[in-house]
Protein backbone atom coordinates (compact mmCIF):
# COMPACT_ATOMS: atom_id res chain seq x y z
CA UNK A 1 0.00 0.00 0.00
CA UNK A 2 1.17 3.50 -0.79
CA UNK A 3 -0.60 6.77 -0.05
CA UNK A 4 -1.22 8.97 -3.10
CA UNK A 5 -0.52 12.61 -2.19
CA UNK A 6 -2.97 14.22 -4.64
CA UNK A 7 -5.73 11.62 -4.86
CA UNK A 8 -5.52 11.48 -1.03
CA UNK A 9 -6.09 7.76 -0.82
CA UNK A 10 -3.96 4.67 -0.30
CA UNK A 11 -3.66 2.24 -3.20
CA UNK A 12 -2.21 -1.22 -3.47
CA UNK A 13 1.10 -0.80 -5.36
CA UNK A 14 1.00 -4.34 -6.72
CA UNK A 15 -2.57 -3.91 -7.95
CA UNK A 16 -1.79 -0.64 -9.77
CA UNK A 17 1.33 -2.16 -11.34
CA UNK A 18 -0.69 -5.21 -12.35
CA UNK A 19 -3.44 -3.12 -13.95
CA UNK A 20 -1.07 -0.74 -15.74
CA UNK A 21 1.12 -3.66 -16.76
CA UNK A 22 -1.90 -5.52 -18.09
CA UNK A 23 -3.08 -2.51 -20.09
CA UNK A 24 0.47 -1.95 -21.38
CA UNK A 25 0.71 -5.64 -22.27
CA UNK A 26 -2.50 -5.50 -24.30
CA UNK A 27 -1.56 -2.30 -26.05
CA UNK A 28 1.89 -3.64 -26.88
CA UNK A 29 0.37 -6.83 -28.27
CA UNK A 30 -2.42 -5.29 -30.32
CA UNK A 31 -0.81 -1.97 -31.14
CA UNK A 32 -3.24 0.54 -29.63
CA UNK A 33 -2.34 3.19 -27.08
CA UNK A 34 -4.39 1.92 -24.20
CA UNK A 35 -5.38 5.23 -22.57
CA UNK A 36 -9.03 4.40 -23.20
CA UNK A 37 -8.64 1.23 -21.10
CA UNK A 38 -6.28 2.68 -18.49
CA UNK A 39 -8.46 5.61 -17.41
CA UNK A 40 -11.65 3.58 -16.75
CA UNK A 41 -9.54 0.94 -14.95
CA UNK A 42 -8.18 3.60 -12.59
CA UNK A 43 -11.71 4.82 -11.87
CA UNK A 44 -12.63 1.20 -11.16
CA UNK A 45 -9.81 1.06 -8.57
CA UNK A 46 -11.44 4.01 -6.81
CA UNK A 47 -9.23 6.83 -8.08
CA UNK A 48 -11.38 9.98 -8.41
CA UNK A 49 -12.22 10.53 -12.13
CA UNK A 50 -10.50 13.95 -12.42
CA UNK A 51 -7.25 12.46 -11.06
CA UNK A 52 -7.59 9.38 -13.28
CA UNK A 53 -8.04 11.49 -16.43
CA UNK A 54 -5.24 13.96 -15.69
CA UNK A 55 -2.72 11.39 -14.45
CA UNK A 56 -3.49 8.90 -17.23
CA UNK A 57 -2.31 11.53 -19.74
CA UNK A 58 1.23 11.48 -18.31
CA UNK A 59 1.47 7.72 -18.81
CA UNK A 60 0.37 8.09 -22.45
CA UNK A 61 3.07 10.74 -22.92
CA UNK A 62 5.68 8.25 -21.71
CA UNK A 63 4.60 5.41 -24.02
CA UNK A 64 4.19 7.68 -27.05
CA UNK A 65 7.67 9.15 -26.51
CA UNK A 66 9.26 5.71 -26.48
CA UNK A 67 7.28 4.94 -29.66
CA UNK A 68 8.55 8.09 -31.38
CA UNK A 69 12.16 7.18 -30.59
CA UNK A 70 11.69 3.98 -32.56
CA UNK A 71 9.77 5.67 -35.39
CA UNK A 72 12.28 8.51 -35.99
CA UNK A 73 15.00 5.96 -36.63
CA UNK A 74 12.82 4.62 -39.42
CA UNK A 75 12.22 8.20 -40.65
CA UNK A 76 8.48 7.66 -40.46
CA UNK A 77 7.39 10.90 -38.85
CA UNK A 78 5.91 13.64 -41.04
CA UNK A 79 7.01 16.57 -38.87
CA UNK A 80 5.15 19.21 -40.87
CA UNK A 81 1.86 17.33 -40.64
CA UNK A 82 2.59 16.54 -37.00
CA UNK A 83 3.09 20.23 -36.22
CA UNK A 84 -0.15 21.17 -37.96
CA UNK A 85 -2.10 18.48 -36.10
CA UNK A 86 -0.49 19.64 -32.88
CA UNK A 87 -1.49 23.28 -33.41
CA UNK A 88 -5.09 22.13 -33.78
CA UNK A 89 -4.59 19.80 -30.84
CA UNK A 90 -3.23 22.54 -28.58
CA UNK A 91 -6.31 24.68 -29.22
CA UNK A 92 -8.53 21.62 -28.78
CA UNK A 93 -7.04 20.54 -25.48
CA UNK A 94 -7.15 24.07 -24.06
CA UNK A 95 -10.89 24.12 -24.86
CA UNK A 96 -11.16 20.56 -23.54
CA UNK A 97 -9.63 21.43 -20.16
CA UNK A 98 -11.95 24.44 -19.97
CA UNK A 99 -14.97 22.26 -20.78
CA UNK A 100 -13.76 19.66 -18.26
CA UNK A 101 -13.70 22.30 -15.53
CA UNK A 102 -17.17 23.59 -16.54
CA UNK A 103 -18.69 20.09 -16.60
CA UNK A 104 -17.16 19.38 -13.20
CA UNK A 105 -18.76 22.60 -11.97
CA UNK A 106 -22.22 21.68 -13.27
CA UNK A 107 -21.97 18.08 -12.03
CA UNK A 108 -22.35 16.57 -15.49
CA UNK A 109 -18.77 15.40 -16.02
CA UNK A 110 -19.49 11.76 -15.16
CA UNK A 111 -22.47 11.63 -17.55
CA UNK A 112 -20.54 13.11 -20.49
CA UNK A 113 -17.47 10.95 -19.83
CA UNK A 114 -19.65 7.81 -19.55
CA UNK A 115 -21.49 8.66 -22.77
CA UNK A 116 -18.28 9.36 -24.69
CA UNK A 117 -16.73 6.11 -23.43
CA UNK A 118 -19.87 4.19 -24.32
CA UNK A 119 -19.83 5.47 -27.91
CA UNK A 120 -16.07 5.09 -28.30
CA UNK A 121 -15.66 1.63 -26.79
CA UNK A 122 -18.68 0.28 -28.64
CA UNK A 123 -17.56 1.59 -32.04
CA UNK A 124 -13.90 0.59 -31.69
CA UNK A 125 -14.87 -2.82 -30.30
CA UNK A 126 -17.30 -3.36 -33.18
CA UNK A 127 -14.69 -2.39 -35.78
CA UNK A 128 -12.09 -4.71 -34.27
CA UNK A 129 -14.43 -7.68 -34.08
CA UNK A 130 -15.64 -7.07 -37.64
CA UNK A 131 -12.11 -6.79 -38.98
CA UNK A 132 -11.05 -9.99 -37.21
CA UNK A 133 -14.16 -11.74 -38.56
CA UNK A 134 -13.36 -10.70 -42.13
CA UNK A 135 -9.75 -11.88 -41.82
CA UNK A 136 -10.95 -15.15 -40.36
CA UNK A 137 -13.37 -15.64 -43.24
CA UNK A 138 -10.48 -15.02 -45.64
CA UNK A 139 -11.90 -11.83 -47.08
CA UNK A 140 -9.73 -8.77 -47.54
CA UNK A 141 -10.63 -5.70 -45.53
CA UNK A 142 -11.96 -2.95 -47.74
CA UNK A 143 -9.51 -0.40 -46.37
CA UNK A 144 -6.64 -1.88 -48.36
CA UNK A 145 -7.74 -0.11 -51.53
CA UNK A 146 -6.80 3.30 -50.12
CA UNK A 147 -3.15 2.49 -50.69
CA UNK A 148 -3.72 3.47 -54.30
CA UNK A 149 -4.57 7.09 -53.73
CA UNK A 150 -6.33 8.43 -56.77
CA UNK A 151 -9.42 9.51 -54.84
CA UNK A 152 -9.71 13.15 -53.96
CA UNK A 153 -11.33 13.99 -50.64
CA UNK A 154 -12.45 17.26 -49.11
CA UNK A 155 -8.87 17.75 -47.95
CA UNK A 156 -7.78 18.24 -51.59
CA UNK A 157 -10.43 20.78 -52.56
CA UNK A 158 -10.51 23.16 -49.58
CA UNK A 159 -8.43 26.38 -49.75
CA UNK A 160 -5.10 27.10 -47.99
CA UNK A 161 -3.31 24.14 -49.49
CA UNK A 162 0.16 23.15 -48.41
CA UNK A 163 2.81 20.64 -49.49
CA UNK A 164 3.73 17.69 -47.24
CA UNK A 165 6.83 16.12 -48.87
CA UNK A 166 7.21 13.25 -46.40
CA UNK A 167 3.64 12.12 -47.01
CA UNK A 168 3.64 13.14 -50.67
CA UNK A 169 0.52 15.24 -50.23
CA UNK A 170 -0.70 18.63 -51.38
CA UNK A 171 -3.78 19.30 -49.26
CA UNK A 172 -5.61 22.05 -47.40
CA UNK A 173 -4.45 22.81 -43.84
CA UNK A 174 -8.04 23.00 -42.55
CA UNK A 175 -8.78 19.24 -42.15
CA UNK A 176 -5.57 18.50 -40.18
CA UNK A 177 -6.21 21.48 -37.92
CA UNK A 178 -9.84 20.45 -37.32
CA UNK A 179 -8.85 16.82 -36.75
CA UNK A 180 -6.16 17.86 -34.24
CA UNK A 181 -8.67 20.12 -32.48
CA UNK A 182 -11.22 17.32 -32.06
CA UNK A 183 -8.65 14.80 -30.80
CA UNK A 184 -7.16 17.36 -28.39
CA UNK A 185 -10.59 18.07 -26.91
CA UNK A 186 -11.44 14.39 -26.48
CA UNK A 187 -8.03 13.70 -24.96
CA UNK A 188 -8.48 16.40 -22.33
CA UNK A 189 -11.95 15.25 -21.31
CA UNK A 190 -11.48 11.47 -21.49
CA UNK A 191 -7.85 10.93 -20.54
CA UNK A 192 -7.01 9.17 -23.80
CA UNK A 193 -4.27 9.71 -26.37
CA UNK A 194 -6.67 9.39 -29.26
CA UNK A 195 -4.33 7.45 -31.54
CA UNK A 196 -6.98 4.88 -32.31
CA UNK A 197 -9.26 7.60 -33.74
CA UNK A 198 -6.46 9.65 -35.26
CA UNK A 199 -4.87 6.81 -37.23
CA UNK A 200 -8.00 5.79 -39.21
CA UNK A 201 -8.83 9.48 -39.75
CA UNK A 202 -5.37 10.17 -41.18
CA UNK A 203 -5.64 7.21 -43.54
CA UNK A 204 -9.21 7.72 -44.72
CA UNK A 205 -9.66 11.49 -44.55
CA UNK A 206 -6.18 12.88 -45.23
CA UNK A 207 -5.08 9.93 -47.41
CA UNK A 208 -1.67 9.79 -45.76
CA UNK A 209 0.55 6.81 -46.61
CA UNK A 210 0.33 4.18 -43.86
CA UNK A 211 4.09 4.09 -43.18
CA UNK A 212 4.14 7.64 -41.77
CA UNK A 213 0.76 7.49 -40.04
CA UNK A 214 1.83 5.83 -36.78
CA UNK A 215 4.91 7.98 -36.16
CA UNK A 216 3.06 11.20 -36.97
CA UNK A 217 0.09 10.35 -34.76
CA UNK A 218 2.47 9.46 -31.89
CA UNK A 219 4.08 12.88 -32.26
CA UNK A 220 0.72 14.63 -32.00
CA UNK A 221 -0.33 12.44 -29.05
CA UNK A 222 2.92 13.28 -27.21
CA UNK A 223 2.47 17.04 -27.69
CA UNK A 224 -1.18 16.95 -26.62
CA UNK A 225 -0.78 14.73 -23.56
CA UNK A 226 2.25 16.71 -22.32
CA UNK A 227 0.26 19.92 -22.64
CA UNK A 228 -2.74 18.38 -20.87
CA UNK A 229 -0.55 17.29 -17.95
CA UNK A 230 0.76 20.86 -17.53
CA UNK A 231 -2.70 22.42 -18.01
CA UNK A 232 -4.44 20.05 -15.60
CA UNK A 233 -1.77 20.50 -12.95
CA UNK A 234 -2.14 24.28 -13.09
CA UNK A 235 -5.92 24.47 -13.61
CA UNK A 236 -7.34 21.62 -11.52
CA UNK A 237 -4.29 20.29 -9.62
CA UNK A 238 -5.35 16.72 -10.24
CA UNK A 239 -2.06 15.20 -11.50
CA UNK A 240 -0.72 12.68 -9.01
CA UNK A 241 3.03 12.24 -9.44
CA UNK A 242 3.24 9.03 -7.39
CA UNK A 243 0.39 7.40 -9.33
CA UNK A 244 1.93 8.64 -12.61
CA UNK A 245 5.28 7.01 -11.77
CA UNK A 246 3.57 3.68 -10.99
CA UNK A 247 1.57 3.80 -14.21
CA UNK A 248 4.64 4.60 -16.32
CA UNK A 249 6.59 1.73 -14.78
CA UNK A 250 3.81 -0.82 -15.24
CA UNK A 251 2.77 0.45 -18.67
CA UNK A 252 6.27 0.54 -20.13
CA UNK A 253 7.27 -2.93 -18.90
CA UNK A 254 3.90 -4.39 -19.92
CA UNK A 255 4.09 -2.89 -23.40
CA UNK A 256 7.53 -4.41 -24.01
CA UNK A 257 6.46 -7.85 -22.89
CA UNK A 258 3.25 -7.53 -24.89
CA UNK A 259 5.07 -6.50 -28.06
CA UNK A 260 7.47 -9.43 -27.80
CA UNK A 261 4.74 -11.96 -27.07
CA UNK A 262 2.36 -10.47 -29.61
CA UNK A 263 4.86 -11.03 -32.43
CA UNK A 264 4.39 -14.78 -32.10
CA UNK A 265 0.59 -14.71 -32.07
CA UNK A 266 -2.04 -14.17 -34.71
CA UNK A 267 -3.10 -10.54 -34.51
CA UNK A 268 -6.68 -11.14 -35.66
CA UNK A 269 -7.24 -13.40 -32.67
CA UNK A 270 -5.93 -10.72 -30.32
CA UNK A 271 -8.04 -8.07 -31.99
CA UNK A 272 -11.14 -10.23 -31.71
CA UNK A 273 -10.54 -10.78 -27.99
CA UNK A 274 -9.81 -7.11 -27.31
CA UNK A 275 -12.78 -6.06 -29.42
CA UNK A 276 -15.05 -8.37 -27.44
CA UNK A 277 -13.67 -6.96 -24.18
CA UNK A 278 -14.39 -3.42 -25.35
CA UNK A 279 -17.95 -4.37 -26.30
CA UNK A 280 -18.51 -5.86 -22.84
CA UNK A 281 -17.09 -2.70 -21.21
CA UNK A 282 -19.36 -0.48 -23.30
CA UNK A 283 -22.36 -2.63 -22.33
CA UNK A 284 -21.45 -1.97 -18.69
CA UNK A 285 -21.40 1.79 -19.31
CA UNK A 286 -24.79 1.56 -21.06
CA UNK A 287 -26.25 -0.55 -18.25
CA UNK A 288 -25.17 1.99 -15.61
CA UNK A 289 -26.78 4.81 -17.59
CA UNK A 290 -30.07 3.06 -18.30
CA UNK A 291 -31.08 1.06 -15.22
CA UNK A 292 -32.76 2.99 -12.38
CA UNK A 293 -30.12 3.84 -9.76
CA UNK A 294 -30.45 2.28 -6.30
CA UNK A 295 -29.19 5.50 -4.76
CA UNK A 296 -31.06 8.42 -6.37
CA UNK A 297 -28.79 11.08 -4.87
CA UNK A 298 -25.18 11.87 -5.72
CA UNK A 299 -22.74 13.87 -3.67
CA UNK A 300 -20.16 16.24 -5.00
CA UNK A 301 -17.96 17.57 -2.25
CA UNK A 302 -14.30 16.74 -2.01
CA UNK A 303 -14.06 16.08 -5.74
Amino acid sequence: MIYLPIAEMPVNVLLVLLVSGGVGFMSGMVGVGGGFIMTPSLMFLGVPPPVAVATGASQIAATSFSGIMAQTRRKSVDWRMGMLLSIGGVLGSVSGVWLFERLLHFGQLDLIVSLLYLILLASVGFLMVREAYHVWRGRAVKGVSILRRPVKTMAHTLPLRMRFPRSGLYISVIPPLALGFGIGGLAAIMGIGGGFILIPAMIYLLRMPTNVVIGTSLFQVLIITSLIVVLQSTATQTVDLVLAALLMLGGVVGAQMGARLGAGLKSEHLRAVLGALLLIASAKFLWDLVIPPTEPYVLRGLW
Binding site: M1, I2, Y3, P5, I6, E8, M9, P10, S58, Q59, A61, A62, T63, S64, F65, S66, G67, I68, M69, A70, G107, Q108, D110, L111, L115, T225, S226, V229, V230, L231, Q232, S233, T234, Q237, V239, L241, V242, A244, A245, M248, L249, V252, A255, Q256, A259, L289, V290, I291, P292, P293, E295, P296, Y297, V298, L299, R300, G301, L302
Partner: protein
Protein backbone atom coordinates in the same frame (compact mmCIF):
# COMPACT_ATOMS: atom_id res chain seq x y z
CA UNK B 1 -6.43 34.58 35.34
CA UNK B 2 -5.55 31.22 33.88
CA UNK B 3 -9.19 30.31 33.89
CA UNK B 4 -10.02 33.48 31.96
CA UNK B 5 -7.28 32.80 29.42
CA UNK B 6 -8.57 29.26 28.93
CA UNK B 7 -12.08 30.52 28.46
CA UNK B 8 -10.89 33.10 25.95
CA UNK B 9 -8.94 30.45 24.06
CA UNK B 10 -12.00 28.23 24.03
CA UNK B 11 -14.13 31.07 22.69
CA UNK B 12 -11.67 31.74 19.88
CA UNK B 13 -11.23 28.09 18.95
CA UNK B 14 -14.89 27.29 19.16
CA UNK B 15 -15.86 30.07 16.77
CA UNK B 16 -18.01 28.50 14.03
CA UNK B 17 -18.64 24.83 14.77
CA UNK B 18 -19.63 24.66 18.40
CA UNK B 19 -20.63 28.26 18.67
CA UNK B 20 -23.19 28.15 21.46
CA UNK B 21 -21.22 26.33 24.12
CA UNK B 22 -19.71 29.55 25.54
CA UNK B 23 -22.40 29.73 28.23
CA UNK B 24 -21.33 26.46 29.85
CA UNK B 25 -18.37 25.56 32.01
CA UNK B 26 -15.15 24.20 30.55
CA UNK B 27 -14.03 22.22 33.58
CA UNK B 28 -14.17 18.88 31.83
CA UNK B 29 -10.68 17.36 31.91
CA UNK B 30 -10.06 15.67 28.57
CA UNK B 31 -7.17 14.95 26.24
CA UNK B 32 -6.42 13.18 22.99
CA UNK B 33 -3.78 10.52 22.63
CA UNK B 34 -2.80 11.65 19.12
CA UNK B 35 -2.47 15.45 18.95
CA UNK B 36 -0.32 15.16 15.85
CA UNK B 37 -1.22 12.66 13.16
CA UNK B 38 1.33 12.45 10.37
CA UNK B 39 0.60 11.32 6.84
CA UNK B 40 3.51 9.66 5.04
CA UNK B 41 3.55 7.32 2.07
CA UNK B 42 2.44 4.37 4.22
CA UNK B 43 -0.59 6.20 5.68
CA UNK B 44 -3.68 4.00 5.84
CA UNK B 45 -5.85 5.97 8.18
CA UNK B 46 -5.47 6.42 11.92
CA UNK B 47 -7.23 6.09 15.25
CA UNK B 48 -8.26 9.03 17.39
CA UNK B 49 -8.49 8.35 21.12
CA UNK B 50 -10.13 10.88 23.43
CA UNK B 51 -10.06 10.29 27.17
CA UNK B 52 -11.08 12.30 30.17
CA UNK B 53 -12.75 12.33 33.57
CA UNK B 54 -16.31 13.21 34.48
CA UNK B 55 -15.89 16.02 37.07
CA UNK B 56 -19.03 14.93 38.93
CA UNK B 57 -17.90 13.00 42.01
CA UNK B 58 -20.83 10.65 41.94
CA UNK B 59 -20.33 10.03 38.22
CA UNK B 60 -23.71 11.42 37.24
CA UNK B 61 -24.27 12.56 33.68
CA UNK B 62 -23.59 11.39 30.15
CA UNK B 63 -20.55 11.89 27.98
CA UNK B 64 -20.71 12.81 24.28
CA UNK B 65 -17.54 13.08 22.19
CA UNK B 66 -17.61 14.60 18.71
CA UNK B 67 -14.60 14.49 16.37
CA UNK B 68 -15.06 17.07 13.63
CA UNK B 69 -13.20 17.71 10.40
CA UNK B 70 -13.28 21.10 8.67
CA UNK B 71 -16.56 22.22 7.10
CA UNK B 72 -16.69 22.71 3.36
CA UNK B 73 -19.41 23.38 0.84
CA UNK B 74 -20.98 20.29 -0.73
CA UNK B 75 -23.52 19.76 -3.46
CA UNK B 76 -26.13 17.01 -3.50
CA UNK B 77 -27.83 16.22 -6.81
CA UNK B 78 -30.73 13.95 -7.56
CA UNK B 79 -30.68 11.63 -10.55
CA UNK B 80 -33.28 12.34 -13.21
CA UNK B 81 -34.27 10.36 -16.25
CA UNK B 82 -33.68 12.29 -19.47
CA UNK B 83 -34.26 10.50 -22.79
CA UNK B 84 -33.93 7.13 -21.07
CA UNK B 85 -30.61 8.01 -19.46
CA UNK B 86 -30.10 8.81 -15.80
CA UNK B 87 -28.34 12.13 -15.35
CA UNK B 88 -27.62 14.36 -12.38
CA UNK B 89 -30.10 17.15 -11.80
CA UNK B 90 -31.76 19.35 -9.18
CA UNK B 91 -28.61 20.44 -7.34
CA UNK B 92 -28.86 21.61 -3.75
CA UNK B 93 -25.87 23.26 -2.16
CA UNK B 94 -24.80 23.10 1.45
CA UNK B 95 -22.62 26.08 2.34
CA UNK B 96 -21.16 24.19 5.29
CA UNK B 97 -20.98 20.45 5.72
CA UNK B 98 -18.42 18.70 7.91
CA UNK B 99 -15.93 16.69 5.86
CA UNK B 100 -15.57 14.30 8.80
CA UNK B 101 -17.94 13.81 11.70
CA UNK B 102 -17.88 11.11 14.37
CA UNK B 103 -20.18 11.26 17.37
CA UNK B 104 -19.65 8.89 20.30
CA UNK B 105 -21.74 8.64 23.45
CA UNK B 106 -22.10 6.26 26.38
CA UNK B 107 -25.76 5.59 25.50
CA UNK B 108 -27.93 6.53 22.50
CA UNK B 109 -27.67 10.26 21.82
CA UNK B 110 -31.48 10.73 21.68
CA UNK B 111 -31.71 9.56 25.31
CA UNK B 112 -28.97 11.98 26.40
CA UNK B 113 -29.92 15.22 24.70
CA UNK B 114 -33.14 16.74 23.44
CA UNK B 115 -33.57 17.31 19.67
CA UNK B 116 -33.15 21.04 20.37
CA UNK B 117 -29.78 20.52 22.05
CA UNK B 118 -28.65 18.18 19.30
CA UNK B 119 -29.49 20.89 16.80
CA UNK B 120 -28.07 23.74 18.87
CA UNK B 121 -24.74 22.12 19.69
CA UNK B 122 -24.55 20.38 16.28
CA UNK B 123 -24.21 16.93 17.74
CA UNK B 124 -25.12 15.03 14.61
CA UNK B 125 -23.94 15.50 11.03
CA UNK B 126 -27.38 16.49 9.72
CA UNK B 127 -27.52 19.32 12.28
CA UNK B 128 -24.09 20.53 11.17
CA UNK B 129 -24.93 20.82 7.47
CA UNK B 130 -26.05 24.32 6.52
CA UNK B 131 -28.43 24.41 3.58
CA UNK B 132 -27.42 27.19 1.24
CA UNK B 133 -29.49 27.25 -1.94
CA UNK B 134 -33.22 26.81 -2.37
CA UNK B 135 -34.48 23.25 -2.78
CA UNK B 136 -35.93 22.66 -6.28
CA UNK B 137 -39.70 22.42 -6.64
CA UNK B 138 -41.11 19.14 -5.41
CA UNK B 139 -37.89 18.41 -3.52
CA UNK B 140 -37.76 17.82 0.20
CA UNK B 141 -34.93 19.60 2.06
CA UNK B 142 -34.72 16.88 4.70
CA UNK B 143 -34.37 14.24 1.98
CA UNK B 144 -31.33 16.07 0.63
CA UNK B 145 -29.89 16.41 4.12
CA UNK B 146 -30.49 12.71 4.78
CA UNK B 147 -28.88 11.83 1.44
CA UNK B 148 -25.79 13.85 2.32
CA UNK B 149 -25.45 12.02 5.64
CA UNK B 150 -26.16 8.62 4.06
CA UNK B 151 -23.58 9.07 1.29
CA UNK B 152 -20.87 10.36 3.63
CA UNK B 153 -21.65 7.52 6.06
CA UNK B 154 -21.08 5.02 3.25
CA UNK B 155 -17.66 6.59 2.68
CA UNK B 156 -16.88 6.18 6.37
CA UNK B 157 -16.72 9.94 6.84
CA UNK B 158 -19.74 10.16 9.16
CA UNK B 159 -19.85 7.73 12.07
CA UNK B 160 -22.13 7.32 15.06
CA UNK B 161 -21.53 5.02 18.02
CA UNK B 162 -23.12 4.57 21.40
CA UNK B 163 -21.64 2.48 24.16
CA UNK B 164 -18.38 0.55 24.19
CA UNK B 165 -16.87 -0.58 20.91
CA UNK B 166 -18.16 -3.93 19.68
CA UNK B 167 -15.52 -6.16 18.05
CA UNK B 168 -16.92 -5.48 14.57
CA UNK B 169 -17.16 -1.72 15.06
CA UNK B 170 -14.57 0.91 14.34
CA UNK B 171 -15.33 3.10 17.32
CA UNK B 172 -16.99 3.36 20.68
CA UNK B 173 -17.07 5.08 24.06
CA UNK B 174 -16.37 3.25 27.30
CA UNK B 175 -17.02 4.47 30.86
CA UNK B 176 -14.63 3.26 33.57
CA UNK B 177 -14.74 3.48 37.35
CA UNK B 178 -14.00 6.85 38.92
CA UNK B 179 -15.60 8.77 36.06
CA UNK B 180 -12.88 7.94 33.56
CA UNK B 181 -14.05 7.65 29.96
CA UNK B 182 -12.32 6.74 26.73
CA UNK B 183 -13.60 7.22 23.19
CA UNK B 184 -11.93 5.65 20.16
CA UNK B 185 -12.80 6.29 16.54
CA UNK B 186 -11.21 5.17 13.30
CA UNK B 187 -10.18 7.98 10.95
CA UNK B 188 -10.33 6.45 7.45
CA UNK B 189 -7.58 7.21 4.91
CA UNK B 190 -10.06 9.13 2.72
CA UNK B 191 -10.77 11.66 5.48
CA UNK B 192 -9.28 15.02 4.45
CA UNK B 193 -5.89 16.09 5.76
CA UNK B 194 -6.63 19.18 7.85
CA UNK B 195 -7.15 20.57 11.32
CA UNK B 196 -9.61 18.49 13.37
CA UNK B 197 -11.25 19.13 16.72
CA UNK B 198 -12.37 16.72 19.40
CA UNK B 199 -15.23 18.19 21.43
CA UNK B 200 -16.26 16.58 24.68
CA UNK B 201 -19.65 17.34 26.25
CA UNK B 202 -21.07 16.49 29.65
CA UNK B 203 -24.87 16.28 29.78
CA UNK B 204 -26.95 15.85 32.93
CA UNK B 205 -30.74 15.42 32.83
CA UNK B 206 -30.69 16.45 29.18
CA UNK B 207 -28.85 19.72 29.90
CA UNK B 208 -25.33 20.58 28.78
CA UNK B 209 -23.18 21.12 31.87
CA UNK B 210 -19.66 21.34 30.56
CA UNK B 211 -17.75 21.25 27.27
CA UNK B 212 -14.15 21.05 26.19
CA UNK B 213 -12.44 21.42 22.79
CA UNK B 214 -9.09 19.86 21.86
CA UNK B 215 -7.37 20.43 18.49
CA UNK B 216 -5.96 17.49 16.52
CA UNK B 217 -3.72 18.33 13.61
CA UNK B 218 -3.29 15.98 10.67
CA UNK B 219 -0.43 16.92 8.39
CA UNK B 220 1.68 15.48 5.61
CA UNK B 221 5.33 14.75 6.26
CA UNK B 222 8.32 13.79 4.13
CA UNK B 223 7.88 13.08 0.43
CA UNK B 224 4.09 13.33 0.64
CA UNK B 225 4.43 16.87 1.94
CA UNK B 226 7.00 17.92 -0.63
CA UNK B 227 4.95 16.59 -3.56
CA UNK B 228 1.76 18.19 -2.29
CA UNK B 229 3.45 21.55 -1.66
CA UNK B 230 4.97 21.49 -5.13
CA UNK B 231 1.62 20.61 -6.72
CA UNK B 232 -0.23 23.43 -4.96
CA UNK B 233 2.38 26.21 -4.78
CA UNK B 234 4.36 25.60 -7.97
CA UNK B 235 1.74 23.81 -10.06
CA UNK B 236 3.26 24.83 -13.41
CA UNK B 237 6.70 23.55 -12.41
CA UNK B 238 5.04 20.39 -11.09
CA UNK B 239 3.35 19.80 -14.45
CA UNK B 240 6.65 20.29 -16.30
CA UNK B 241 8.32 17.89 -13.88
CA UNK B 242 5.68 15.22 -14.53
CA UNK B 243 6.16 15.60 -18.30
CA UNK B 244 9.95 15.31 -17.91
CA UNK B 245 9.46 12.15 -15.86
CA UNK B 246 7.25 10.77 -18.64
CA UNK B 247 9.88 11.60 -21.28
CA UNK B 248 12.62 10.00 -19.19
CA UNK B 249 10.52 6.86 -18.69
CA UNK B 250 9.79 6.70 -22.42
CA UNK B 251 13.47 7.23 -23.31
CA UNK B 252 14.63 4.50 -20.94
CA UNK B 253 11.99 2.15 -22.35
CA UNK B 254 13.02 2.86 -25.95
CA UNK B 255 16.68 2.38 -25.02
CA UNK B 256 16.05 -0.99 -23.36
CA UNK B 257 13.76 -2.05 -26.17
CA UNK B 258 16.45 -1.44 -28.81
CA UNK B 259 19.04 -3.37 -26.85
CA UNK B 260 17.03 -6.55 -26.57
Amino acid sequence: MRRLAALLALLLLAAPAAAQTSDVASDLPAAVAEEQITVSSDYRGSYVTVFGVNPDRRGRGDIVVVVRGPSESATVMRKRRVLGLWMNGDPVQFSEAPTFFAVLSNRPLRQIASPQSIWRYQLDPAASAQLDSAVPQGGDPSAYRAALVRLRRQQGLYQEYSGRAAPDQRGGLTLYQGGLFRAVVRLPANAPIAQYYADTYLFRDGRLISAQRIPISISRVGVERRIHDLATNYSFLYGILTVLLALAAGWVAAFLFRRT
